[in-house]
């Protein structure tokens, strides 16, 4: 089986260009109707006014003003600012942990497991949990972390604690734990994919040239896995920044996040406010992605 090196488009008659568009039409239509138009509407409605019953078309900055009301006083952060800071805190924490953990697991699979069969088996083992419901995977921490959960029971039996530890569940800790549990896969898969493409002779060359294990890791493996690291980081950061389900369930509905604010505002039918929040969130996410893609030309790598 030869891999076609020239682009498959070479030398095709122009008529096929028309046929290609008919074939791409259903997919294009889905993304136009359910992605581009909705995003445009979010932007548009964020400038609308609203009453208790209906949306009032218009053009006003009222919603944005309402969101940032009282934010000028930096000594006492307003609700918006503290919510965004808390969301950012979770994003960075989860990103750091999943990156280190995902890199370690991918490195083990790519460089230490020798037989390809074993490699595939262990890789599949890591990805299987991704195919079960996120809520189930969150709920599954309750019997472990709860007030009378396995962890507290064990610690009490060992006489290490007298009263159950309360911060295990419905806390920042449980939220981060659940995020790591849910989304480390998004780091492992792209980093593993990048590592598998690294020419093994480069590693040998590094060690022949006298590099220590850490030097090889830092100067050869990490730069060559950069694409995977960036793709994984984009996934994890965007998911955590927009999340409201995990923070809701694992935080006991007590911890605020941008996604949760949007959800609550829509449930009160304050669509323009929710839309304005969504626009701000989107702007932040785009800035993060833009910053990350400065590090690597994804177009060239795909």
């Amino acid at each position: 089986m030869g891999h076609p090196t020239s682009p498959p488009t070479a030398g095709l008659p122009a008529k096929q260009g028309v046929a290609a568009w008919w074939q791409a039409a259903p997919l294009t239509l889905v993304f136009a109707l359910f992605f581009l138009v909705p995003l445009a509407l979010v932007l548009m409605v964020s400038f609308w006014d609203f009453s208790e019953y209906e949306l009032l078309p218009g053009f006003t900055f009222k919603n944005y003003v309402a969101i940032f009301e009282g934010c000028a006083d930096l000594a006492q952060p307003c609700v918006t600012l503290s919510t965004y800071l808390s969301t950012l805190k979770f994003s960075l924490l989860v990103w750091g942990i999943t990156l280190v953990l995902g890199f370690a697991v991918a490195y083990f699979l790519a460089f230490h497991v020798r037989s390809p069969g074993m490699q595939t088996l262990l890789f599949v083992l890591c990805t299987v949990p991704f195919w079960t419901s996120n809520v189930i995977r969150m709920v599954s921490w309750v019997p472990l972390l709860g007030r009378n959960g396995l962890v507290n029971q064990t610690l009490a039996d060992l006489r290490l604690i007298d009263t159950p530890i309360e911060w295990l569940l419905f806390s920042d800790f449980s939220v981060v734990l659940a995020f790591v549990h849910l989304y480390t896969m998004f780091m492992i898969v792209p980093i593993f994919n990048s590592m598998m493409r690294i020419d093994r002779s480069l590693i040998e060359a590094a060690s022949d040239a006298g590099a220590s294990g850490w030097q090889t890791l830092w100067s050869v493996v990490v730069p060559l896995s950069r694409t995977g690291i960036v793709i994984g980081s984009i996934f994890v950061l965007t998911i955590v920044m927009g999340d409201f389900v995990t923070i809701g369930v694992m935080g006991g509905q007590q911890i605020a996040s941008v996604g949760k604010i949007i959800q609550v505002q829509t449930s009160y039918l304050q669509f323009p406010l929710a839309a304005a929040n969504a626009v701000i969130l989107l702007a932040i996410v785009l800035m993060v992605i833009w910053g990350l893609t400065r590090l690597v030309d994804l177009r060239k790598e795909l």
Partner: protein, 298 residues
Amino acid sequence: MPRTFRVREPRPASFWALACVFALFVLFMYGPMLVIFILSFQGPEGGLTFPLRGLSLHWFRQLAAGLGVVDIGAALRRSLALGLAVMACTVAFSVLAGLAFRKRLAGGNLLFFIVVASLIMPSIIVSLGIGLEFRLIDSGVKAVLERLGWQAALEGYGTSLGLFTSALGAHLTWTLPFGLLIMFAVFNRFNPAYEEAARDLGATPWQTFRHVVLPLIAPSVVGIGMFGFTLSWDEIARTSQAIGDVNTLPLELQGLTSTVTTPAIYALGTVTTVVSFAVMGCTIALVWLLGRRKAGAR
């Protein structure tokens, strides 16, 4: 077997450290799920945590009887129906688009960029947008009906938000990027010589696709179907604002986490996980069968 002849180098210390990390990671991934699987078989007096008080199917029976006001059976049927619809659309649209991208496609780069953007867009924003879109459609339809004076139709009209309108669209923005990326991977490794041979033998484009391309890509197509179904089956964030009055199973489940305090919720977790794994198992079996048929035909 060259393996037996290879001299085994001793494993470096880093191997053992990373092997421990990996083992702990796997335990971390599977441990909690195993726990709720076991706890769902609690006896009737059992609670949300260990110890296991007896062994029974009590909580599965409770689940079948219904949890409070929530009709689990109806939610399950809705999720299944939606999952199957998403699966069918994902397969059809991804394969077609995959074929299109092999040809000269004006604006193909832009389309690809949009598809990838959808994959990394925070789901709550997409969901909110789709919800808004259909609410605006509703107001539009109502205004038109009012203008026309069709009172009966106006009173009968509820909303255009629904399982097979807004929710289907919301799910497709999540499943299609995966489908398209798989098609890219497939066609990057696809040898066009087979198609050329078919054309030289006088096959029409449809015959070439039906008898040459489709059998060759069949395992991947089955895989895309599985991706479509399981991603839809477990989806919450994109559905949340875009579904209207009825709920899918994951949404009901999310609601139940704060109200239900019996192992029945673990039983529900076990049931949905079993469905996910059954779909995966069927897919793997089907791919294996297709592979064997291909090998047999050779």
